[in-house]
C-alpha cells in the first residue's frame, strides 16, 4: 500500500468525523430556508456536541453497563463504516477488510446496540422506540442489500470502493436498474436516518418519536457520542449514495496527491447538493403514521428488487 493510500484512508475518516455535523447543520439550514424560517447557524451541531461533552453525565439507577457501553460501540461502528466508504478516494487500504455486506452488518451492529440500550432502562418510551427502530431496520436492511447487489452485479464485486471505481471507469451509460435502486436507496436513507416521512428529527412528541425516543435516557458525553454517531450515519449514507450513483470526483485508485486534493471540493459540492435535495424531500412530504412506515419500507424493498429484475432482464 502506498503512502497516498494511507493518507486517503486517514483523511477520509477525518473528513467523516469533521464534516458529519456540518452536513447535518447544512440539511437543517436548507430545510429552514425552504420553510421560510431563519436558518440556524451551520455550526450548531458542533456547539451541541461540545456542550454535551462538558456536562456531568446523569444515568438512571436501573442502567446496566451495557447502557454505558452502547454509545461507544455505536460510534465505533459508524467510524469503522466511514473507513470503508469511498467518500474521497477508492484506493483504501481497508477496502478488502469489509465489503458492502459487512458495511450493512456494521450499521446493524449500531442499530442492535442502540435498541438494546434503549431497552436497558426499562421505560415505556425506550422500548417503544427500540421496537419501532428495529421494525424500520429489518425492512430497510434487505432493501439496502438489494441496492448493493444490483450495483455489485454491474461491477462484479461487493467491495464498495471497487464498485465506485468500476462504475467510473466504465463508459458513461444510463443503467435503468440503477434508476430503480436510486429511488429505493433514497427511501432507505430517509428511513434509516430518522428523517421525514418516517420519523421527525425535530419532534418533541414522545408518541411519534422513533430515534429520539431511544435516546431519551442519555445525557452528556454519552448523548454527544450518540448524536455524533447519528450525524456520521447520515454522512455515511450520503457517501454510499455518491459511491453507487455519482462516483465521479473521488480519486480513483492511488493516483496521487493531486486527485486526492481535488476530491475534497468534489465531496463538498456533492454534499451540498445532497443536503439540499434531502431538505427538499423532507419539506414536500408529510410524516407518515408509524403503521404506514412498513408500507413505505416495503415499497423501497420492492423498488430494489425491481431494480434487480430489470438488471437481470436487460443486463444493464
Amino acid at each position: 500500500m502506498s503512502a497516498v493510500a494511507w493518507l486517503t484512508q486517514f483523511l477520509e475518516v477525518l473528513a467523516a468525523l469533521v464534516l458529519a455535523p456540518l452536513f447535518l447543520g447544512w440539511v437543517n439550514a436548507c430545510r429552514a430556508w425552504l420553510q421560510n424560517r431563519r436558518a440556524p447557524s451551520l455550526l450548531l451541531p458542533y456547539h451541541g456536541i461540545r456542550k454535551l461533552f462538558h456536562k456531568d453525565a446523569v444515568i438512571a439507577e436501573s442502567a446496566s453497563p451495557l447502557f454505558r457501553l452502547a454509545p461507544y460501540v455505536v460510534f465505533g461502528a459508524m467510524v469503522a463504516a466511514a473507513a470503508v466508504i469511498p467518500s474521497m478516494g477508492t484506493g483504501l487500504p481497508f477496502r478488502s477488510a469489509a465489503d458492502a455486506i459487512a458495511l450493512v452488518g456494521l450499521f446493524a451492529i449500531a442499530r442492535v446496540f442502540m435498541s438494546l440500550a434503549a431497552m436497558d432502562i426499562g421505560t415505556a418510551f425506550g422500548t417503544l422506540g427500540a421496537r419501532r427502530d428495529m421494525m424500520i431496520g429489518f425492512l430497510a436492511e434487505p432493501a439496502l442489500l438489494m441496492v448493493i447487489f444490483v450495483a455489485s452485479l454491474l461491477s462484479a464485486t461487493t467491495a464498495l470502493p471497487l464498485i465506485a471505481e468500476r462504475l467510473v471507469i466504465q463508459p458513461l451509460a444510463l443503467y435503468p436498474s440503477l434508476a430503480f435502486t436510486a429511488v429505493a436507496f433514497t427511501m432507505v436513507l430517509l428511513a434509516e436516518n430518522a428523517r421525514i416521512p418516517v420519523d421527525n428529527p425535530a419532534t418533541h412528541l414522545e408518541l411519534t418519536m422513533i430515534h429520539e425516543a431511544m435516546l431519551l435516557e442519555y445525557s452528556a458525553r454519552h448523548l454527544a457520542l450518540m448524536e455524533w454517531a447519528a450525524a456520521l450515519k447520515l454522512f455515511n449514507y450520503a457517501c454510499i449514495g455518491f459511491a453507487l450513483f455519482v462516483p465521479w470526483g473521488a480519486s480513483i485508485g492511488s493516483t496521487g496527491i493531486g486527485a486526492l486534493a481535488l476530491s475534497l471540493p468534489a465531496l463538498l459540492a456533492k454534499l451540498a447538493v445532497a443536503g439540499l435535495w434531502l431538505a427538499l424531500l423532507e419539506t414536500v412530504s408529510a410524516k407518515l403514521r408509524v403503521f404506514r412506515a412498513p408500507e413505505f419500507m416495503a415499497t423501497a424493498f420492492m423498488f430494489a428488487v425491481l431494480g434487480l429484475l430489470v438488471h437481470l432482464l436487460l443486463g444493464a
Binding site: S62, S96, A102, M119, E141, F149, V305, L308
Partner: protein
Amino acid sequence: MASIDSPLTISLALLACWAVVGAVGLLRPHSVALVGRVLFPLGAIIGVGLAIVAALSLTEPVEHATLYIGLPDLPMHARLDNLSRVFLALLGSASAGVSLFAAGYFRKGEGTAPGVMGLQYHLFLASMGFVLVADDAYAFMVAWETMALTSYFLVTAQHGIPEIRSAGFLYLLMAHVGAIAILLSFGILQGGTWLFSFDAMRQSTLSTPWATAAFLLALFGFGAKAGLLPLHVWLPEAHPAAPSPVSALMSGVMLKTAVYGVLRVTFDLIGDPLWWWGLVPLALGLATAIYGVVFAAVQTDMKRLLAYSSVENIGVLFTGIGLAIVFHGVGMTELAALALIAVLYHSINHAFMKSLLFLGTGAVLHATGERNLGRLGGLIHRMPWAAWLTLVGVLAIAGLPPLNGFVSEWLLLQTFLFSHEVPQPFVNMLLPLGAAIVALAAALAGYVMVKFFGIVFLGQPRESSLAVAHDVDGFEKAGLVWLAIGCVLLGLLPNQVIHALGAATEQLLGAAPNLAGQSWWMLAPLTERDVSYAPLVLLAVIVAVIAATFLIVRVVYRRPVRRVPTWDCGFGRLDPRMQDTAEGFGQPIRHIFVSFFDMERDLPSPLDHAPRYRVKVSDRFWKGVYLPIAALLSRAAKSVAWLQQGRISVYLTYSFITLVVLLAVML
C-alpha cells in the same frame, strides 16, 4: 479394515465410551455428585477428544470398518470420510459445551433420576455419532431410531406434566413418519441389488424417476427431523418441553444430523443430482426461513422463540443445499462447493450459537423458574455472566460481524450473487431474488434477538421474585464460555474453518475453494471476483476506535457520572409493568405479516370491570394440515373399528373366511 489406532477406530471407541459413561450412572442413579460432577464432565472430555480426532483426520483417506455386532451374518459397516469428520467435529465440540453446562444443571427431584437421565443423554450422543459413521442402511436406521428414542425420553424427562407428554408424543410421531420415508428412500437406492450397504447404493445406477423419488423421500424424511416446512410443528413443542441442555443438543446438533443425511444421500449415495432437484429444497428452505423467523418474533415463551429461530436457520441451511444442488447440476462445481461450504459452516455456527442461547435460557429458567418472557426482565444485573455470554450468542445469531453467524450468511449471499449465471432461463432470474428473502430473514433474526435479549435480560424485573435470581455456577459458566469462545473464533478465523471444510467438499463434489496463497486473516473465496472480508481487521478497527474514543473522552472530559432514579415525566412512580411486553414487542410483526398467523384476539371493552386483553397466535399449519390429517385418520380408524365386534364367534367367522379365501387362492 481399519487398524487399531486409526481415526475411525478411535472415533468408534469414543462413541462406545459415551455409552459406557452413561451406563456407569446407573450404579448410583440418584447421586447428583457422581452423575453431575464426574460423568457429565467425562462426557465433555470425550466430546473434545472426538472433535480433535475428527478434525485432525480431515486430510486422511476414507476408512472402512466392519463391526460384528447386531444380527448374525449381518455385520454393520462403518465408514469415516470427510463429511462424517466435519459433522463428528461439530458433534464433539458443541456437545462438549453442553455437557459441561449439564454437569451443573441437573439436580435432584426434577423428573427422571439423574443417573437415568445421564444414560439417555450419553446414549443420545453416541447414537448421533453412530449415525454419522454408519455405512449401511441397517446401521444407519438403528442409530437413527436410537437417536429418536433416547431424545424422546429426554424430552419427556418431566413426564408428570401433560403438555410435556403430548409434546413428546408429537415428536415421536414426526420422527417415525420421517424414519419411514428414509427407509423407503434407502429401499429405492439399493436399486434391485438387495444389498443395503451404502457402497452398493453408490454403485447402483437408478433411472431418473426412481432417483427423483429417492431424493424426495430422503428430503421428506430428513426434513421431518430438521423441521422443514410444513414438518416443523414438533420443534416449538418439543424444545420447550425438554430440559435446556437437551434442547441445546437437539437444536444445535440433532437437527444437523438431518442436514448430514440429506447431503449424504444427495451427493454421495445418489451421486449426481439433477439440477432442478435443488429448486425443491431451495423453495422450501426460503419459505421455512421466513416462516420460522416471523413466528419467532411473536413468541412469548423464550424456548419456543428459540425453537422457531431454529426453524429459520434450518430454512437457511436447506436454501444453501438447494443452491449447491443447482450449481452442481449445471456444472458450476466451484460455486456448488462454496454453497456447500456455507451450509457446513452455518451448521457448525448454528450448533454453537443455538446451544449457547438454549443454555442461557436454561440458566434463566433455573434462576427464576420462568419461561414466559412477560415475567422476566432486568436479569443482567443479577446474572451478569449468563447475560453477557448469552449476548455473544445473540449478536452471533443476529448475523453481526465480526461473529460467526455473519460469515456463513456472507458466504451464502456471495453464492447467491452468482445464481444469475445458471444457464437456465427463468430460473436464473428467480434465483437472485432468493437473496432478498435470505437478507430479509437475517434482518428479522436481528429483530427477534433484540426482543429475546432485551426482554429477558434488560429493563427492570417484571416480577419481584426475580430479585433473588442467582447467576450460573462453575460448570454452567464453563459450558457457556466454551460455546461463546467457539462463536468468536469461528467468526474471526474463517479461512482456517473453510480450509478444513474444503476437504469435505473436495470429496463430495471434487472442488474446494482455492485459498492457496492468501493471507491467513483475509477471506477471499472467489478468485474471479474481488470480494473479501477480514474479520480480524474489522474487529481491530472497531476496538481501536472504541478504545481511542473512550480514552479521549475520559482524558479530556473528566466529568463525574451521577446515578439518579429514572425520569418519570413528573407523573409519579414508574412501574416495571409499563415496559413493553413480549406481545408488545412482537406487535409490529403481527401487524405486517398478519396473513401468516392464525390469530385469536380478546379485546376488552371500556365497560369491563376486569378488562382482559388476550391474543393467541397459532400456526396455520395446525388447522390447515395436521388437524385434517388427524381427523381423517381417526375416521379411518373408526370405520375399521367396526370389525371389532367383541364377540368370539365373530372373530372365528373372520378366521373361517380367511381360511376359505386362502384355500381358494391356493387351489
